[in-house]
């Protein structure tokens, strides 16, 4: 049993879709690119800022150490007091070798002098004015032991810098999260969107697979590629459905059309056999009659098949551009002796220099059928006009006009149908397929068969029939 359940778009399904997989992949690439970009920003801002601060601190410390070397600890103390006054961002602490603070803007740096020298320190400085639970101001500084045993600490209040760095880091994390979230959301939405479109198409395919050719995809919405795909699918199904219907119709038609002559043939053979058993009848005649019947069945069969093929294919095989004038003259030439024998005048009027695209043989056959009909129904003394002209619309018109009894208005559309033969024509030869074939040839060429009254009543003749094969010209 094939799965016939219609598929519905659902979130769980979406994770399995190709679109979603593509989204995840592109998202990963995006995230990689974003993290590279954000890392660069981090290095360019945060790391650079820290390096700059360290540089400033180191230079200040170096100046002081130089002063110490030149002028001794007193000069340094004086200098530090002066510097601390002027630049509050710097923090200085000078501790005597005995651990006594000599001068300093804070009590003392947190670490002892046991550490290797010089060394970087980071600590929080809690000011007396601050609340008890406040983390205090972050300080970073360089501590070193001077040649006289004093310990010098030069620090810098990096609270503002750190706040700035923190902001940047937060911003970077935020940007990263935003990229991921937006990408994921866009991906999910895209998958859902694509899925919804595809589910419609998949449902149509599933329905068709189960034998229902009438399913069609929805084509509303903007004319995007899904719209085109749905439209293409629908057109394909239309054509398939038409073709299937035509084939079914052709099959039915062949079965129908052959059943009666085959029944007749069978009956004839059966009668002949009975006669033979009874020792009467003429077996030779019965056999030759049966052979004739068989030929008639075969002829009908090939005509019905040709009509069915033309109808189902919807176009003609081996179409090419050609000048239709010789074709018309040849048909006139073929039928001229027959008309003369019958006492019917055949005239033709052929326009030159036209071009037609189609299958010459089918068109010749269609035209021959029209002339054949005309000859059949035109009494001696009448006339037939074979004409090729270009219509004002650009279409080509092959017409055959006769002066026979014509066809009443009401019957004209009916005689095109297969096997329809009007009262009074039952004794004329033919199976009633001639006009059906003409119509099939016309349709397959994108043209039509038109029937109208002939030239009208003239004495014993008329009103006649005007039958025209109208085909689009080659453009």
């Amino acid at each position: 049993m094939p799965d016939t359940r219609p598929i519905r778009p659902g979130w769980r399904r979406i994770f399995r879709t190709t679109t979603f997989r593509f989204t995840v992949i592109s998202l990963a690439i995006c995230a990689l690119a974003a993290s590279a970009f954000l890392s660069y920003i981090y290095v360019a801002t945060v790391v650079e800022e820290r390096r700059r601060t360290d540089q400033v601190i180191a230079r200040e410390a170096e100046n002081i150490v130089n002063l110490y070397r030149r002028s001794g600890p007193e000069a340094v103390s004086a200098r530090l007091v002066d510097r601390a006054e002027r630049n509050r961002a710097f923090i200085y602490v000078l501790t005597a070798p005995n651990g006594q603070k000599v001068v300093g803007s804070i009590d003392s740096p947190p670490a002892g002098s046991a550490k290797p020298t010089p060394t970087w320190l980071n600590f929080s400085l809690v000011s007396p004015g601050m609340a008890g639970n406040s983390p205090g101001r972050p300080v970073r500084g360089l501590q070193q032991t001077l040649s006289g045993g004093e310990v010098l600490f030069v620090g810098f209040d990096v609270g503002d810098d750190q706040a700035f760095i923190l902001k940047i880091v937060h911003a970077l994390w935020g940007a990263g999260a935003l990229v991921l979230a937006l990408g994921l959301a866009a991906g999910l939405q895209l998958s859902r969107n694509v899925s919804q479109h595809l589910v419609g198409l998949t449902n149509v395919v599933a329905t068709v697979r189960n034998g229902n050719l009438s399913a069609r995809a929805g084509v509303e919405g903007s004319p995007d590629e899904f719209h085109d795909l749905a439209k293409g699918l629908n057109q394909m199904l239309d054509r398939l459905e038409r073709s299937m219907a035509a084939h079914r119709h052709a099959g039915d038609a062949i079965a129908h059309d052959l059943r009666s002559p085959l029944t007749r043939l069978r009956a004839r053979l059966e009668v002949a056999l009975c006669d033979l058993e009874a020792g009467q009848g003429n077996p030779e005649q019965a056999l030759s009659q049966a052979l004739e019947d068989t030929d008639a069945v075969l002829k009908t069969f090939s005509t019905v098949l040709a009509i069915a093929r033309l109808q189902s294919e919807g176009d003609v095989p081996s179409a090419m551009a050609f000048d239709p004038a010789p074709l018309v003259s040849d048909i006139a030439d073929l039928y001229e002796p027959l008309c003369e024998d019958k006492g019917v005048q055949l005239a033709s009027q052929v326009a030159e220099g036209l071009t037609l695209r189609g299958n010459q043989e089918f068109i010749a056959q269609a035209l021959a059928n029209l002339v054949d009909n005309a000859v059949k129904y035109t009494p001696s003394g009448g006339g037939i006009m074979l004409r090729l002209r270009s219509r004002a619309s650009g279409d080509l018109e092959f017409s055959v006009t006769d002066t026979g009894p014509g066809v009443p208005d009401a019957d004209r559309s009916r005689i095109v149908e297969r096997f329809v033969r009007l009262e009074g024509s039952r004794n004329a030869p033919g199976a009633g397929l001639g006009l059906s074939l003409v119509a099939a040839v016309a349709n397959a060429h994108g043209g039509r068969l038109e029937l109208a009254e002939g030239p009208g009543k003239i004495g014993d003749h008329g009103p006649g029939l005007w039958a025209a094969l109208i085909l689009p010209a080659d453009v």
Binding site: L334, P337, L338, Q365, A368, N369, P429, G430
Partner: protein, 223 residues
């Protein structure tokens, strides 16, 4: 004539062989493409009759192979496929004639005999002569017993075809195909009218009629 029949439908092949043998020809039958090709290579035939749909090697491929190998034996294709492109592809492959199934024996025999004459047409002929009937293909004149006969264009072509196949039966379908190049069957027998018109021109006023009607087949031009 020596005829090779390559046909997988055994009853059809037997019936065909019988019909041809009744006509005085010798027949060899091969039931598939492979044995058909082998037989065609091994012996000389006057005509090969090939079904298009054969087991093992398709009729078209078989004929193409023969032609590639330089075998110019006339080939008549038999096929249930009667569409124009089927016929054209058959002739393109190297077939000389194409007959759609089902066919009448008379049609098959007439076509096979017509094919056997094809060899004569290879050389350029400027004059045809059948009995006391003479045709000048360059001057496009016809004389019987030295008496000029005035023919129209189609009548001339019709007579030319019949003179080229003098002594052989030619069918209405053959005439339609070869003289008019139509491959459909007109509902009324227009060909009969053309032939009788030609007959009245070449036979009228002469003691012995040349253009004969062959019952169940068509016509024959006798010397």
């Amino acid at each position: 004539m020596n005829i090779l029949i390559i046909e997988d439908d055994i009853p059809a092949a037997e019936a065909m062989a019988r019909g041809l043998m009744d006509g005085g020809h010798a027949c060899v039958h091969a039931p598939d493409g492979e044995s058909g090709l082998a037989t065609a290579r091994a012996q000389d035939f006057d005509v090969i009759i090939v079904d298009r749909m054969l087991p093992k090697i398709l009729g078209i491929d078989l004929v193409e192979t023969l032609r590639r190998e330089g075998d110019q034996t006339p080939v008549l294709f038999l096929s249930a496929l009667g569409e124009i492109h089927d016929r054209v592809s058959g002739l393109k492959a190297g077939g000389d004639d194409y007959l759609v199934k089902p066919y009448a024996f008379a049609e098959l025999i007439a076509r096979v005999e017509a094919l056997s004459r094809r060899g004569d047409m290879g050389s350029v002929v400027t004059q045809l002569k059948v009995g006391d009937l003479e045709m000048d293909l360059i001057g496009r004149t016809v004389q019987r017993q030295g008496q000029e006969i005035d023919l129209q264009h189609r009548e001339f072509q019709l007579l030319e075809f019949m003179m080229r196949h003098a002594g052989q039966a030619v069918t209405r379908t053959m005439l339609l195909e070869k003289v008019w190049a139509y491959h459909f069957d007109p509902q009324t027998n227009v060909i009969d009218v053309h032939v009788s018109r030609l007959r009245s021109k070449i036979d009228k006023g002469f003691e012995r009629p040349m253009l004969q009607t062959v019952r169940g087949a068509g016509y024959r031009l006798d010397a």
